[in-house]
Each structure stands twice: as C-alpha cells, then as structure tokens.
C-alpha cells in the first residue's frame, strides 16, 4: 500500500460531512463503541456503572441482573465447567459489541462497554439456549454536545479551517496567475506560500478523496499521466524544466478545485474526537511524507509543509486543550511539551527568507542524521496526540 492510500483511508474519518442532508458519521463515537470510561463519567451523576455476571454453561448464559441502567457496564464472564461453550458475547442485533472467548472450564474474564438504553442479547454459541435478552434502561448516554467547552472547540476549529481555506484560495490564485503569466521565479516562491495553508487543513480536505487527489496528488498516485494534476504536477514542471510552458490548463483547474474546496469546507461539522484524530493524521503526514522528502520531491520545500502540518495539528490540539487539561492534565502537559520539542527541532532549519522564500533551508541539504532527529521528535509528538481522542470524548 502506498503511504498515500494509507493516510487517505485514515483521514476519511477526520470530519463529519453533511452533504445534501446526508450525515456521514465517519468514525464511530456512536453507542456501539465500547470504550473505557473517562474521569468525567465518575464526576457525572447521570452516568452509571454496573456489573453484570454471566455464567456460561451448556444450558445457557443468562446475565445477572438482566436489566441495568445506561452507562458503563462491566461483564464478568465465568465458565464453571462447560468444555463445549467457552465464550459469551453481547450483541446488538447482529453486531458484536463485546466478547470474552476461549474461556475453558474454570477460567473467567471480563469486558466493559458503555451502553445506551435498548434491548441487547447475551450470546453463547453452542449452548442449549444460545441467546438471552439483556435490557439497558434509562436515558441516552451523554454526548460531547452536552459539554459546552467541546461545542466551543468544534466551532473554533471550523472557523479556523474556513479561514485557512480562504487563505489557500487567495494564495493559489496568486500562484496560478504567476504560472499563467509565465513568471517562473515568482511562481516558485508563491507555490509554497499557497500550499502551506493546504498542509494545515489537509486532514479535513482529504475527506473528499477526489478533490484532494486533484489538488495534492503525487505522481505515484496517478493511474495515468493525465490523472496527475494539481500542485505537484505544476511543481514538477517548475523545478524540473524551470518553465511554465503549457501549464495554463492545469493552473485553471487547480484554482477551480481550490474554490470548490472552499465551498465544501463550510458544510463540514466537526466532532471533537475527529479533530483530535485529524491532528494525529497531520503529524503522521510529517513522518510519512515530509521527513522522507517524498512530498516535495522536485521543489524540496518539505520543511514548509512540515511547518504547515505541525501548525494544523497544533491548532486542532489547542482548541481541545482546555477540555484536555481538565480531563487529563498529565497528557495535556506531555502534548504541549512534545509540540515544543518538535517546533524547536524544526526551528533549527529556519532561514530568512529561506530557500524559495519558504522560511526554511532546502530540505535536500538536510542530512539523514538530521532527519532522524526531526523524525524522533515528530514520532513522540504523534504518539501523545493519538491519545487525546479517548480522553476528551
């Protein structure tokens, strides 16, 4: 699998998009998701926690009690002596929400789920009665929308993204105008200035795989030569041939795609977990395509892209930080510290005005040993960012 395919699949989850009344809940967060409880649950009187005992036998696997209030439910599963029936599952219709398997006689285990009100089934394949009803009563689980701080965070993020895409439109129009006017040197300098805005919001833009492919696709992604369009296609001509000849159509198309993106971005509704995981994706992008020099293989302005991805991740983290500080101050500290370490590592390569006015040195001049130092900082930051979603939602 190419790195591109990998991140696109992951990033498709970065945002929820409302298009023509269709709500695409991209990445879970619904009642079916089993998850560990958060500290907020403990403080929250509405959230309940129950323990349900399930003894599996050749006869059945009836839960005790058979009815619990909505909230965190821990299932203690034990096998007192059945060699035939060795597992129990909690089903919601056909979907397995949680299970404990391979419980040979005498063994026990457990699993914990966050459950909304509804009818469920405890299922132990092989027993005389394989399915027993299990009921969860009460109100629906609280969602992030009940937390004003998280609602604020999603609004802040949406406003920021819209602003960045507006800048992207302005920058791209200036860039494509220079390309069409045949001003090669100007175009090279405007290229990075436009792109950095894309790099900041890449995790959102990639929701639309086709637009993203047209704007930001690499030569490796294109099925045929004609499919290679957008920034990197123009980049190739500008730096390899030092010419703008014949790039007019590509420039127009890039401009149109970016305008299209601006329209679409305004219909995105963000979820806190998606914002957090989008930040992880952005930091992963640094590791998979900037550190390697894969992204800007002709222009070598990768450090400016690095800067863009890092700033985008930091923005996403920043809007969530007030909530994260409350729910997991230690993680909030770690994330802030590792962001600083990454920013400091990058800063070592800052230059004014820098290579192609990018604010940084030519990335092809950065040695493997230096790249490794950058990579280590990025990896550590990404690892901490990847834990945010589970803490805030």
């Amino acid at each position: 699998m190419t790195p591109r395919a990998t991140h696109r699949r992951a990033l498709a989850c970065a945002a929820t998009v409302i298009t023509a009344g269709l709500l695409m809940t991209a990445c879970g967060g619904g009642k079916d998701d089993s998850k560990g409880s958060t500290p907020a649950d403990a403080d929250n009187a509405a959230a309940k926690s129950s323990t349900v005992k399930i003894d599996i036998s050749d006869k059945d696997c009836a839960p005790t009690p058979a009815t619990v209030p909505a909230g965190t439910v821990k299932f203690d599963v034990g096998n007192k002596g059945s060699a035939k029936v060795t597992e129990a599952e909690l089903l919601d219709g056909g979907k397995i929400l949680g299970e404990k398997e391979n419980l040979t006689p005498g063994l026990s285990g457990d699993f914990t789920l966050n459950l909304d009100a509804g009818k469920y089934q405890v299922y132990c394949p092989g027993a005389k009665t394989e399915k027993t009803e299990f009921t969860v009563t009460g109100t629906a689980e609280k969602t992030w929308k009940d937390e004003p701080a998280l609602v604020t965070a999603t609004r802040q993020y949406a406003t920021w993204v819209t602003g960045e895409v507006r800048e992207l439109v302005t920058g791209t129009d200036a860039f494509t105008a220079a390309v069409k006017a045949g001003k090669t040197d100007d175009a090279k300098k405007l290229y990075g200035k436009a792109r950095v805005h894309y790099e900041r919001i890449e995790s959102t833009a990639e929701v639309w795989g086709d637009i993203d492919g047209r704007i930001d696709g690499r030569i490796d992604d294109a099925a045929t030569a004609a499919d290679f369009t957008g920034f990197h296609r123009i980049e190739q001509e500008l730096w390899e041939k030092n010419s703008t000849a014949g790039l007019g159509t590509l420039a127009d198309r890039l401009s149109a795609d970016v305008h299209d993106l601006y329209t679409k971005v305004q219909k995105v509704e963000y979820q806190p977990a998606a914002i957090a995981n989008g930040a992880t994706d952005l930091v992963n992008e640094i590791q998979s395509s900037k550190i390697t020099g894969e992204e800007e293989r002709y222009s070598h302005i990768d450090l400016l892209d690095f800067d863009g991805n890092l700033a985008g991740a930091n923005e996403a983290v920043s809007v969530l930080l007030p909530v994260l500080k409350q729910k997991d101050p230690a993680l909030a500290d770690t994330v802030a510290q590792r962001y600083q370490a990454t920013a400091t590592a990058l800063k070592a390569y800052a230059a004014t005005p820098g290579y192609e006015d990018s604010g940084y040195v030519d990335y092809s001049k950065v040695t493997d040993a230096q790249r490794r130092v950058l990579a280590q900082a990025v990896d550590a930051y990404a690892e901490s960012v990847s834990k945010i979603a589970g803490k805030i939602a």
């Binding site: 990445c27 089993s34 560990g36 914990t112 957090a276 280590q376 690892e383 901490s384 834990k387």
Partner: protein
Amino acid sequence: MTPDAQRDSGPATSAVSRRRLLGAVGAGAAVAGAALGAGGTALANRDSGSGSGAPTGHAAPATVDFRGAHQAGIATPSQDRLCFATFDVAPNATRADLAALLTTWTAAAEAMALGRPVPGDEGDLNTPPDDTGEAVGLSPGRLTITIGYGPGLFDDRFGLAARRPSALRPLPKLPGENLDPAVTGGDLCVQACADDPQVAFHAVRNLRRLGFGTVLPRWMELGFGRTSSTSPQQATPRNLMGFKDGTRNIDARDEKVMGRHVWIGEEEPQRWVRGGSYLVSRKIRMRMEQWDRDRLGDQQDVFGRYKGSGAPLTGHSEFDTPDFAAKSGGQYVIPDDAHIRLASPENNKGLRILRRGYSYTDGIDKETGDLLGGLFFIAFMNSPDRFVTLQRVLGAHDALNEYIQHIGSGVFAVPPGLAAGQDWGAQLFG
C-alpha cells in the same frame, strides 16, 4: 486476567495517567503471577497447544518467571529467537521521566512475560490500542525481557554518577575491530528472547512505543538460531559457519560456577547491582562467501574441532575435553591459533563467561551481493574486563579473524532481578 489485575485496569483508575495506571497493573499482575503458580502454567500450556485445551506434552512451560533473584534471560535456558535493542535517553528527558519510564516498562514487561498484552484501556474505537496486538494468540514462548544500563547513563544527566557499577565503563579499543557507531553503544539495552520471533519483536516494539519522548532507539538486532546452549540438556547449536560453538559454555544451572563467573557479588561496592551481571554484545560479521570456499581441513583447524561431530581435534565426541598439549609431527593437534585453544579457560587462567549469542542477518550487501550476517554475540560475566581479556587474545591471534570482523559493540550493567512490588525505576534510582 485475575480479578485483582482487572480491577486495577478498570474504569476506577482510568483517571490517572497511563504511566501510573501501568504501575498499578504491574503490581497487581505480580501478585497474581505469584499466587497463580500452577494455574499460570496450565494456561501457558493451553496457549502453546493446539487450542483444544488438551495437554500438549510440552515439557517446558511457556512462561518464565519475571521476578526473582536474577533477571530472566541470563540463566534461563536459551530460547530460539532474540530481539535486542538499545536506546539513548532523549536530550530533553529528565531524571523523573526516566524513572517513570522504567516503572512503566516494568509493568509492560511483566505483563508480556505472562503472555498478556500491554495493560491499558481496551476497546475504545477512538483511541489506538495500548498493545500493538501482534502477539495476541501466540504462546508466550518463554519470553524473557532483560534490561541493562550503558556507561553513559551514569554521567551527570540523571544524578546517577554515584550509583555507577564500579566495572562499568566503555570497552577499550580492541584488536581487529571496526565498529560502526550506528550499531554500537546506548544508554539502555533491552534483550527480549522467546521461541517465537514475533513475540520477541512485539516485546521490544511495545517498550519502544512506551518510550516515545523519553528514549530514542539507537539500534536493533533480530537474532535467530541460538548459537550456544546454556544447559547440557539443550543440544549444542551450530553457528552460521556450520560449527558447534557453545560446547564448553557455562552450564547456567550450576549456581557455583555462575556465582564465580557471572553474577556480580560482594566485590562490588554498589550494593544495588549485586546479583546482576554485565552484558557484552558484539555484532560480528562473518565473511561467509570466503569461509564457504575454505577447505574442510583448514575450517577444522580454525576452530580446533571436527565440523561433523563437534569433537575437539584430539577427541572422538563433542564433550571430550580438548587436549591442548597433544602433538603430532611436532605440531599441536589443536593449532596454536585455533579458536577453542585461545578461548579456553585452560589458557586464560580459568576465566569463563556465559555466552548467549544468536545468528543474525541484515540481508545482502547492496554493493557486492555478499551475505550480511554472522554472530550477534552476547555474553554475561561479573566484570566486562573478562571479555576484554579474552578478546585481546582472540582479536590478535585467533585464526578465525580471517573470516570475521567485530562491527558493533555494547556493554551494559544488568541489574539483579526484581523483588515483589519492586520496579526498575526504583531499583536504579534507589
């Protein structure tokens, strides 16, 4: 998982930081491991079997005790596979960071040694799993995780200078070596051995992941085909030159010999490291193409043994004691520069070390197409000077030198085993 351990990892403690959580789980798991005993073995056998739950007749249990007087992975009968990695402490990491990581590592290592995943939250679809998952369903494969500390750790960065084990210092330049800094040294080392390479790799991978931001990986080596036996019950394996190379190794079950040669004892002023050992690693490249073109007679003279039987050139069977005085036609039967002569205790004032090496390969040389590989030598001893003494002789005179080169190196103080409730952080920092 036992109720106790589960309670610790359950919702009640999820408010604490992950590192503290891991510490708590570790303590729970320790108690569970001690209390379970036979049950743990039964579970392990079940895991290593066909999955039917029937006894497999597997003589060795699939788990090795994590805690004890000495760290596992030294006297433990050699497993088939190795994953070895060294780390440097990150430039911005503090004493507290390092101590916290060692506590976290203890909990994770103990869980993995029991065949369990790295403890943490399970099943949150919005968060990466705490365990990377590739060892789930595999037998623990007698996994041992052994930690060691390089000389650099005891500089002034973490206030550990006063706790430096007295014999721990970088190895001197040794004859014939050509060390690549990219596979040499490190502040910490982790030796993971198991009968399944995926289990050993999983262990190092997860410790590395937990170490993000605190330690930076320096180098890593995968080993296969153990090249020595640490118990006569194990057949003597062959190295990549096709020779039996561990016949006269220390029997690690012999407490007296281990006490004299391997375990750090009363002679060490640093009490905290008594019961530990020193680990010396050497990445030794073999020039396999050249070796394979050497005539059998010369190959046998280089080692001082018969290639087929493994017997010394003065004997008939593998375990015959070599007769270093025997001559034929005025020449020693076991030549002056034969490997077993130069390495023997008889010719080194009784000096012995416990070898625990593995074969390795890094693929092929991209310029020549020659095989890259050889011996990843690991040995334990109560002072690195023992290795230095031996290697000064071998590096200068060993006939084998024509076909090998030492290209990587490491020396680490290996702390003693952990007592119940103790962790590596508290052990190191006191």
